[in-house]
């Protein structure tokens, strides 16, 4: 990895340079919250944001994506018409970059490569930015506190400068043309280590660090805890909609008025949706909310790990904010902590 240093004051020049070729999507303020949205000026960007309501996933797998269009009169199909823009996701936190890495491993799987996802991903540069944890952050417990690969640039804040990790030639060229780029000094590296340590010490201590989560998930599969969570689940899918790594979808046809033409669309779906596991004939394999909540947590904390060697949950904490009834992986970790305390008695 190549590291360079730029002044914080140089970041507007970097954004302006990116804007020459790319649509720049970045965190912006909306009311009391922050969202990822396209910006036209650096001043719209809030680089020191805690988190966004929903993840940047929406730019790689849109909530509604047209796969092809059809014309019934002409008996004709037009393949993949979704607009793919050259885009920069600017100001992405490490958890979300790790989330995108998880999406990559699903959609770029060599056995079933997904051309729709790949088209958006290939047209997207990612510029990460370091952050300080807020109340619901637990990326440190999900091995997602650092983005290792997965970005073109990563801006590590060190005072009034950024130590920039460079991940691609394309981005390096833009950076060098736009900014006063220096070699990192020993002082910069010391400042970086200090910033990292400050972040590590700032995580919410009330979120327990649990070892052997997959084993515990299996051990407590039948515990009444899941009925507690299911008993208060609203079946709204807010958790999945804000999640950076929920990637399930449904496919449906939508006709235009008059029904002569239409589109086949891929739309977000989620295992928390009551109909998700319903099959032909009407049987629902997970008809109860407790089964659906448990399934979601298993996939996030256990199942994905078995096939992809890392937790699907990246600890961004968005679901914990979005859920009205306190259902999130944090509650699962707390449950395991309680069980551990009982065992110790």
């Amino acid at each position: 990895m190549l590291y360079r240093v730029i002044d914080r004051a140089d970041v507007p020049s970097l954004v302006a340079a990116l804007m020459e070729r790319y649509e720049v999507v970045a965190p912006v303020r909306r009311g009391e919250k922050y969202v990822f949205a396209a910006v036209s000026d650096f001043d719209e960007i809030e680089l020191d944001y805690p988190s966004t309501v929903a993840s940047p996933k929406k730019y790689l797998m849109p909530a509604i994506q047209t796969l092809f269009e059809f014309d019934t009169a002409a008996n004709d199909v037009t393949d993949y018409v979704d607009e793919v823009r050259l885009r920069v996701l600017f100001g992405v936190h490490a958890c979300d970059i790790n989330g995108i890495m998880n999406l990559n491993s699903v959609f770029n799987d060599a056995r079933y490569p997904d051309p729709y996802y790949a088209a958006h991903r290939a047209a997207t540069l990612i510029v990460g930015v370091s952050c300080m944890p807020s109340e619901h952050c637990f990326c440190n417990l999900m091995d997602s506190e650092e983005a290792r690969p997965g970005y073109d640039l990563f801006l590590n804040a060190i005072g009034d400068k950024f130590l920039v990790s460079i991940g691609s030639v394309t981005a390096a060229n833009i950076l060098e043309a736009a900014c006063d780029v220096r070699e990192a000094t020993d002082a910069d590296r010391i400042a970086f280590r200090a910033a990292t340590r400050a972040r590590q010490e700032a995580f919410n201590p009330a979120i327990p660090d649990i070892q052997e989560i997959p084993m515990l998930m299996d051990a407590f599969h039948e515990d009444g805890f899941w009925d507690e969570l299911g008993g208060r689940c609203l079946s709204c899918n807010a958790c999945a909609n804000v999640c950076p790594t929920c990637y399930c979808f449904d496919i449906r046809d939508t006709l235009d008025p008059g029904a002569k033409t239409g589109r086949r669309e891929r739309v977000w779906d989620a295992c928390t949706s009551p109909q998700f596991a319903m099959v032909a004939g009407g049987h629902n394999f997970r008809s109860a909310p407790a089964q659906r909540v448990r399934h979601r947590m298993y996939h996030k904390l256990n199942g994905f790990l078995a096939t992809h060697d890392r937790s699907l949950c990246v600890g961004c904490g968005r679901c914990a904010v979005a859920c009205k009834v306190d259902i999130s992986p944090i509650e699962v970790l707390r449950f395991f902590e309680r069980k551990g305390a009982e065992d110790a008695e």
Partner: protein, 255 residues
């Protein structure tokens, strides 16, 4: 040479409602002729005083069943139509007329005094169309989204691979990323209301009033508890739900 297939014959029936859903269908404007071009629109009181034909394929019903005469009308529609589509909150949930379901006699007396005029017909507790006959498709909301109606009409005519989902509205609202109205002190019924409308009202800063109907998977108890934790007493929550969901709540209460 055989004749071209006959266009499906469609009739519209209006029961107790404001007719706003039928009016709203005309708001598809430039698409109206394309939609009408697929069907033989054989009866629509809003456009013609010709009587309802004896034979038809699809019956579209707006409004709640509030009289014995209306109940007979929908039974007759069911006997003749291959497909029945209920449109709008009144037909789907009992809607606004449904608020009187608990005490129709008392409400009639409050309005008309001792003798209800004959023109009212033979009153009965307001109910959704599905309480009287089997309904094949429902287009929810007050008023319906006209494009939602067109989509459902197409599903009735040609079939559809779209599943009717029952998730609650909060999820759709979270996609809009506008923030939760509870954080602004408002009481919102998106916690229990069926998704599908795109959470447009909350996106405009107005709390959901439940016009799409209670989701069959609604967790009303947990929603009440959450609203209470934000300072909205359960009585207020239930009262707000009465506007569009009085019939469903009364049925749930009897179980």
């Amino acid at each position: 040479m055989t004749d071209a297939p006959r266009a499906p014959r469609v009739v519209f029936a209006g029961l107790a409602s404001c007719f706003g859903c039928q009016i709203n269908i005309t708001n598809i404007e430039e698409h109206l002729l394309a939609v009408l071009g697929q069907i033989d629109l054989a009866y629509w009181q809003l456009t013609s005083s010709a009587p309802m034909p004896d034979e038809f394929d699809v019956a579209v019903v707006e409004g709640a069943v509030t009289t014995e005469e209306a109940a007979r009308t929908v039974r007759r529609l069911r006997e003749r139509a291959r497909t029945v589509i209920a449109i709008g909150a009144c037909a789907a949930t009992g809607g606004i007329p449904g608020m009187a379901a608990g005490d129709i006699a008392g409400h009639a007396a409050a309005v008309y005094g001792e003798s209800t005029p004959a023109a009212c017909g033979s009153l009965r507790a307001p109910a959704p169309v599905s309480a009287v006959i089997d309904v094949d498709f429902t287009v929810p909301c007050c008023p319906v989204d006209p494009f939602d109606f067109v989509r459902v009409l197409d599903a009735a005519l040609y079939g559809s691979n779209r599943l009717a989902a029952t998730s609650a509205l909060c999820g759709e609202c979270s996609r809009n990323e506008g923030g939760c109205l509870y954080a602004r002190g408002q009481m919102c019924l998106g916690l229990v209301t069926r998704a599908g409308c795109g959470a447009r009202c909350p996106a405009l800063g107005r709390a959901c009033n439940g016009c799409a109907g209670l989701s069959p998977d609604a967790n009303v108890g947990a929603a009440r508890a959450f609203a209470a934790s934000r300072g909205h007493v359960p009585e207020r929550f239930d009262e707000a739900l009465q506007m569009f969901n009085a019939v469903a709540l009364a049925a749930a209460g009897k179980e």
